[in-house]
Symmetry: C2
Subunit: 527 residues, 2 copies
Amino acid sequence: MAVKAQVLYDFTAEPGNNELTVKEGEILTVTNQNVGGGWVEAQNSRGTVGLVPEDYIEVKTILIISFVFDLTSLYRALDEIRKLCGIIFSSVYSFDEEWDDDSDDGKSTGGYGGSQVEEGGTMQRAGGHSTMKLSLNKFPGFSKTPNPEVYLLTKHIAKGDERLPIYTGEVGPVWLYPQTQLDCVVADPKKGSKMYGLKSYIEYQVTPNTTNRPVNHRYKHFDWLYERLVEKFACALPIPCLPDKQVTGRFEEEFIKMRMERLQGWMSRMCRHPVISNSEVFQLFLNYRDEKEWKLGKRRAEKDEIVGVKIFSNIDPELPELDPAQVEQKYEMYSQFTRSMDNSVKELLAVGHLHWKRCTGPLQKEYRQIGKAFQNLSSVFNTSAYPRESTLTEALTATGKTYEEIAEIVAEQPKKDLHFLMETNLEYKGLLGCFPDTITVHKAAIDKVKEADHVVVMNKISQQDKLIMEKNLSTMSYALQAEMNHFHSNRIYDYNRLMQFYLEEQVKFYETIAEKLKKTLGQYTTM
Amino acid sequence: MAVKAQVLYDFTAEPGNNELTVKEGEILTVTNQNVGGGWVEAQNSRGTVGLVPEDYIEVKTILIISFVFDLTSLYRALDEIRKLCGIIFSSVYSFDEEWDDDSDDGKSTGGYGGSQVEEGGTMQRAGGHSTMKLSLNKFPGFSKTPNPEVYLLTKHIAKGDERLPIYTGEVGPVWLYPQTQLDCVVADPKKGSKMYGLKSYIEYQVTPNTTNRPVNHRYKHFDWLYERLVEKFACALPIPCLPDKQVTGRFEEEFIKMRMERLQGWMSRMCRHPVISNSEVFQLFLNYRDEKEWKLGKRRAEKDEIVGVKIFSNIDPELPELDPAQVEQKYEMYSQFTRSMDNSVKELLAVGHLHWKRCTGPLQKEYRQIGKAFQNLSSVFNTSAYPRESTLTEALTATGKTYEEIAEIVAEQPKKDLHFLMETNLEYKGLLGCFPDTITVHKAAIDKVKEADHVVVMNKISQQDKLIMEKNLSTMSYALQAEMNHFHSNRIYDYNRLMQFYLEEQVKFYETIAEKLKKTLGQYTTM
């Protein structure tokens, strides 16, 4: 299937690097999305193939949908053939429309074994940054970064229901947190089918702790929710990407398990967010009672007007107005922090990736070799015909087997501890990848307010307008502060939990090995 | 210093493998002894350089000795200069004559880091096999393998003092073991000097448990003892090589410590042998009272007539005579066993070597990186200005430091456990390398006895002679059996002790790490 992409910015190829020079607006055919290192391989209309930075292009989703329709026609045709021939079509043709663009290229998700994780590109849906860019581009009236001016000059006052208050908590400005925290369980993936059984899909059961009543959702519903959340909130709140469609497993079971685990992580994070979890669209997703309610709710959500920078109109900080200098200082601090943390998380992922590979590769092999060597020595000793041999040879064989067991323990360990560490850090990498875009909206607002004096002089806006802009900038800054405090509190919770879990498993790992070795040690004769 | 070597067997180079075709008797210049894999790089007289199997050549020690004399002249010249100029020569020129042929090429003995150990060549004095070959060549009257005929036809009856009885023990034929086992401590290396202080050497204190009176010996004295033992016993008892002269340390202290440790191992093994420990030359080495006694004893030992195959004349098995078929069967069994064990020991050494390198190389680096990554994350978290940060950042820093400590523990561990495993296996490799030559003497004896019938027919020997030969062959076989039983009993003792020590240290290693991780785990907030 050909994936088309539109070029967002001009890019000039560096000679000799196998790169492709592209112009803004040009349409490319993506020939390889798994190049890694932030690059994709693409072909231009003249047939030239080369590498393009993935952040410079926007994949055209519309073409994927048209492909789905093509497949649908194909299924209809196949069904006609089936009826005519009476041949039983098995699940060989089991496509889910949400899988249509998943190419199972045999990569395992279990081991962080491929370069995609290290490079950080494809593990997150089309790369952290570009997703946000892509989504922000959908905001009506903006071509690139959403223009905060639309909001800065409004005197809009938040209505009761949609009002997003910010309070002063112990840690500074905070969102209004609900009395009981929403959570949900994503479980029980079931295969459903359509199109006379030719087209199958996976439906996950999502059960919120509030109603305890499960609702069923397919990946494409999660994706729809994600799109709505980005549209509505991404200027104020970084919306982490959904687990990537590109994630593939060697086995369907492995793939489904991995996707479910990641959807759970994503949903839990959304549930924990006081603004998101309380939003109408999110509540709809968790609580709809029947198909009709779901469809009506969907239509309503898609027509929501308070999206993009307009979301700031709903924010109501009951706090003293900040002057632009304070706003800029905060902005710089958050910008710096999220950048540094992004680097640090990537470092941890790279190290974890290396360690994973070492444990499942050379270390496992080495412990197996050690085990083999002891067992071989034992076999040789057994041929000595010397009458006092058996205690030693039995102990040696047991030692050899113990080291073989250790080899397997070492190779299995990453799944037990490193997996969670990697998953959490991947989540954070995704989340941190959204911050630059969110923060850019704030930067643009600061710049607008800085320009305001000049604009007032030119009589384009009134002094009154300027004061409104400063008040609104202060509101935006409070939103960013509340969001950062939410992020910090979650981060501390997550990393505290993560590190404890990791260390507990590591302790068990070393203790298990010590115990096994102690047991084999007991088999030798004490002298 | 050019090392010369004589080719022992024809060798035809395989094309394209960088090998050198050589003829028996040809003299080569060794250009690189550290090629590994059982090969050395050498240059022939026509200047062609290529690889030759190390077992196919014999390094010419005579050339090394002439080099010693050259150095001696140099010292004399230097001393003249010193006297003339009044310049103080420090220990910069501190050569021991036993070190003269040690080139300190910066290799560490601590880590089995070079290829020489893996391949097993240079760690043992000129390679296990060739040493024995070289020594056996010194026996008067034999060009290659000592000719057992000299003994087979003797009617010599062992005299009281020199008699080496063989009894039937629980495990079969055994040597006569002393009531208390001899042992000694090699300790307290001291620098002595000669040649006006320009020439220094190391003297070790050797204290036997019998007299508890220390005697001083330099490496060259050990070497002299080794030569005597080979001359006298090597046809019947494999005499393990002395720790190699070639072993070099980055630091003099490291070198001396390593050599002392290995001399201790060698001496303990000799002490444990009932025949060797009881021999006049060995007793002299441990018990001489003054320089005069030592020098007289040395002269006596050098004039000993009962050397080579003649040693069998002293052996007196008080056991029923074996027929040649039984002898051959035993021979085959021992030959097979020692070969298999040699392979198995080499496998263990290779695996141990790999593991050593992994622990001190990539694993240490990786744990350091993990430690660094946690600490970096902690540093980033510290910049958040979020008020509830400190518990997590402190715990994260402690975790990072713990992983850095683990890195050092991992890198130090081989010295604690693998070192002893490697040393013991190296000792056994040396010992097993001597068996083929010892066993070859027996094989030659079997062949002679097989030929005997034919020789009797040709009236070259009498029927009576033939019976003597068979009786003597039986005696040789008992000697081999007693020696093998000695070997087995030592082997079981050594490997039992070794494995227990190794596993104890391994258990401690894993427990220490678990303990450290548990401690850092306690620093996180319980939620």
